[in-house]
């Protein structure tokens, strides 16, 4: 009856590109061991089939009689794996090229390149994670096609779950407290042990508000920041773009729905995606006859969430430069003063927090990255450990929970009898349960099928 093909073995690079010297290729599925056995020559001569689950082995990946790389290979047998299938992870220590070569060899040996989020889809379909978690993961990876995020998000989701569960516990205690007095009306003595409902509800509300706020950050991670790079001709916009792109950290993909004609690049700054529109236009600026007029800049500036204004630090500010400064003064703006290597004119140093770089040498780029983060990640959130809500459905559920708790306060303030408190307390409890996947929603089946193109 199930029309989903779970028999393929899938593979993908599981680390973000260029993060240090190691890259991990993950292979999952029925034939994962068999496929990798064709490629992996263990130092100890064992075949993968013989190895114990959750062990690491040293050896080489060989394809077409050539050694591609020295690797460490991790064997994990179903069902104690992320996907609940047999999983092999190959830790290469070559750079980006070696990672790609190993992936290619794995695919040529019988695996299929995983679709974005497919490991998570399998984790879901094999009952390893629930829909809410799967969705959270998908929300992020849909923009970035990075398998590595799946794990990270899961961890975050776990923390979120913990905080939601704490909230639900508080509400449940409140509800139980009211229920006891209702179910045992004869027992007057229980009345003395009553919890202060308003106080607890207000505390819960404040926690929910905090969580809702993190969604702004979550949204940035999942949707990216629309960024405009503006500046006079020849100030180094193109070099800056190239510096951003040429960094190994950059992931270059097409944003869905755009064509190659309107060039849009996606750049990851420590996980924060910058969406840079009209890169063709920026490149054109190298052309001697290009004429990027102020009008064009205005429309770009207006639609951007972040404006990087580039100046040539080796020359004095022109009228046009000053106009640009004025146009961007109310935006999230980073003033980048380029050509640091050629010496900077004093007048730039008194501008609004300028970042000095040399796009050519890469000097100062780190400061630029830091500035981007400082602007957008206002809630002091550590993405590797803190709670981050990226899923709009979660935000909506939290909002509903908030409304329900406000109703509770209203019920108290209008002097309604206490049983009526339980209606909205229970609703709040259920809405919070939607975030953790503990409340069964009636549109669940539609969600499953819209999220995971399943079906016949």
């Amino acid at each position: 009856m199930l029309a989903v093909n779970l028999t393929d073995t899938i593979a993908a690079v599981a680390t973000s590109a260029g993060n240090g010297g190691i890259g991990i290729i993950r292979v999952s599925g029925e034939s994962a061991f068999q496929i990798c056995d064709k490629l992996f020559k263990a130092k100890n001569g064992m075949s993968i089939q013989q190895m114990h689950s959750h062990t690491i082995h040293y050896g080489t990946i060989e394809y077409n009689n050539a050694v591609i790389d020295e690797v460490l290979l991790t064997v994990m047998k179903a069902p104690s794996t992320y996907t609940r299938e047999d999983v092999v992870e190959i830790n290469t220590h070559g750079g980006y090229r070696a990672v790609n070569a190993v992936l290619e060899a794995v695919i040529k040996s019988g695996a299929r390149l995983a679709e974005p989020g497919e490991f998570t889809k399998r984790a879901f379909l094999n009952g390893r994670i629930d829909l809410t978690k799967a969705e959270a993961v998908r929300d992020i990876i849909s923009a970035k096609t990075r398998t590595a995020m799946e794990i990270a998000v899961n961890k975050l989701q776990g923390k979120l779950e913990k905080r939601i569960k704490a909230l639900r516990d508080d509400l449940l205690t409140l509800i139980a407290n009211i229920e006891v007095s209702i179910d045992y009306p004869e027992h007057e003595e229980e009345e003395q042990n009553r919890i202060n409902v308003s106080k607890t509800v207000e505390e819960c509300l404040s926690e929910i508000n905090t969580l809702i706020k993190t969604s702004d950050t979550g949204k940035i991670y999942s949707e990216g920041i629309k960024t405009a790079i503006v500046g006079r001709p020849n100030v180094g916009k193109s070099s800056l773009l190239n510096a951003l792109l040429n960094e190994d950290r950059a992931i270059v993909t097409d944003i869905p729905g755009t064509t190659r004609d309107v060039l849009t690049e996606l750049i990851s700054i420590d996980g924060i995606p910058l969406i840079i529109a009209d890169t063709a236009g920026i490149r054109e600026s190298n052309d001697a006859v290009e004429k990027i007029g102020v009008e064009k800049s205005i429309s770009e500036i207006n639609s951007a969430q972040l404006v990087i204004t580039v100046f040539d630090g080796s020359r004095s500010l022109t009228e046009e430069d000053k106009q640009l400064l004025d146009l961007t003064k109310n935006k999230n703006r980073i003033i980048v003063v380029n050509k640091d290597d050629l010496g900077i004119c004093e007048e730039y140093k008194i501008l609004d927090a300028p970042v000095f770089i040399s796009a050519k040498s890469g000097k100062g780029m780190d400061n630029l990255y830091k500035r981007v983060k400082d602007i957008f990640i206002t809630e002091n959130i550590d993405t590797s450990s803190d709670v981050l809500i990226s899923n709009q459905r979660n935000v909506a559920s939290l909002q509903e929970a908030k409304n329900s708790l406000e109703n509770v306060l209203n019920t108290i303030n209008t002097g309604m009898p206490e049983d009526l408190l339980t209606i909205d307390l229970t609703r709040a409890y259920e809405y919070l349960g939607q975030v953790t996947g503990e409340t069964l929603e009636d549109d669940i089946i539609d969600r499953i099928f819209s999220e995971f193109c399943l079906g016949k």
Partner: protein, 623 residues
Amino acid sequence: METYLADSVDVVVIGGGHAGCEAALASARMGLDTIMFAINLDSVAMMPCNPNVGGSSKGHLVREIDALGGEMGKNIDKAYIQSRMLNTGKGPAVYSLRAQADKAKYHTEMKRTLENTPNLLVRQGEVTDITVEEGHVTGVITESNAVYKCKAVVICTGTYLTARCLYGDTITESGPNGLRRSTKLSESLKKLGIGLRRYKTGTPARVDKRTIDFSKMKEQKGDEKIVPFSFENKEDDIKREQISCYLTYTNEKTHEIIRANLSRSPLYSGVIKGTGPRYCPSIEDKVVRFADKEQHQIFIEPEGEDTNEMYVQGMSSSLPEDVQIAMYRTLPGLERVRFMRTAYAIEYDCLTSNQLKLTLEFKDIHGLFSAGQFNGTSGYEEAAAQGIIGGINAGAYCLGKEPLILDRSQGYIGVLIDDIVTKDSPEPYRMMTSRAEYRLLLRQDNADLRLTEIGHKYGLISEERYAAFLNKKEAIEKEIKRVSKINIAPSQKVNDFLTRMGTSVLTTGVKLTELIKRPELDYDVLKEIDEERQELDEAVKEQVNISIKYEGYISRQIKQVEHFKNIEGRVIPENTDYSLVPGLRIEARQKLASIRPVNIGQASRISGVSPADINMLLVYLKG
């Protein structure tokens, strides 16, 4: 053993307790030839434990039984000796009606009704066997080797199956109150492949009224205004002189005696193996579990008008008799108390009730139904509620009619039955308001509006009553419509009235409904400024007031019900093979296969089935 054919009927009800009475009456009233067996006809509708009917959520059950055309409400209206509406300050959903019963009268009145119901024979005798052929019930055999052929059987054996009563070292192999137990039927059921388990419950001592000093206790009188349980009765029909109950407390001395003698309790020494209810624990349980509590409330309640026996609510125990007497005498007012009956615990066989469908029919035996304490519940009202459903469905089965299933949004009865067949209750199940998710809609005052129609459909509501019901319904709707249209201008008269009622005055005109919603006001008092109002029946006024006053809350709850109905609407085919569903955890697979839920909603309520399992099931069913 030579058997003989004694009779051929439609429905046999085994047991004449609260479940059995309702089952037998429902079946007979549906026109089916019915026999109700009881081990002793003098113990029909006996109340072997507390002398009251109703209370929190149980009162709701009684009113629902009445709305469906059952007997419990009418019977307690005849036999009550004190009536109170509890919880009135806590909201309309949780008003709970409770009446003290004259136990003897309760029995006599119910027996009279049974004996005078057409199509029903009440028969003393122990059923020892149920016969099943090709998965269908064919009849029962009694201890006298009499065969009664029938199409359907409702098992309502209460606490009688292989029962034993205990206190201290004293163990009697008997049913409650020293009545004969039934041993052979358990064996017959096991042979049919029916899984049984062992539960226990207990009852406190009955003491001699003449040895109690009531001056040391707090008197609890009945209400002045009497609300009948039955929708067919009016206050004036049943108003009578009431008898008081009394409140006293345990103290450190009581607790000391209990603690010192715990080792002599069969419960703590391991003699009792059955699982007891957390909800009405023995006094020794309470003292052990809530060690830091300095006192527990104890109520002294009369067992009837013509007896000196008093029930000591809250002091159920299985400690040895000498310990019981010593600890009872530590209570203020009981210093010189003399026992008439000793407290005891009772152990009995009952059903693991997930073998039942939501109709209370066994999943694997056609025509076999069960109801009441045998299904693992506790309480007279819970028993009666299942009894009427079991009786209706046994009748429907014989007649080839659609069975009756009430869902969780239709009544406490629906909640009760769904809970016992879906969730694996590890202890005797007691109804509680907190179990009902949609209780603002499931009020005791509107049980007739919810269920009379259904009772009528199954032939349990007389045409006369049905006509009165339709009139009431219409009157409510008409009045709500009228009131919703009325605007109140800020006149001097209005503002004088509002000031007098302690609420803020008007500066502009408002809708009358807005005023009804104010906590200081209600529909009734507003008649002073509602000039066109006609005097209506109390019950109609109550509905109008609640519907308007709590409108916002009611509509939010209706939304929740819609959501619930959506999920309940996702049917799981009966032949679903859970071994084919990928990704299910083993526990979920086993539970689903054994309970065989009828829809996704029910599946999601099974303990051990997680949301992730439900996702898998949905993917599989859709695929």
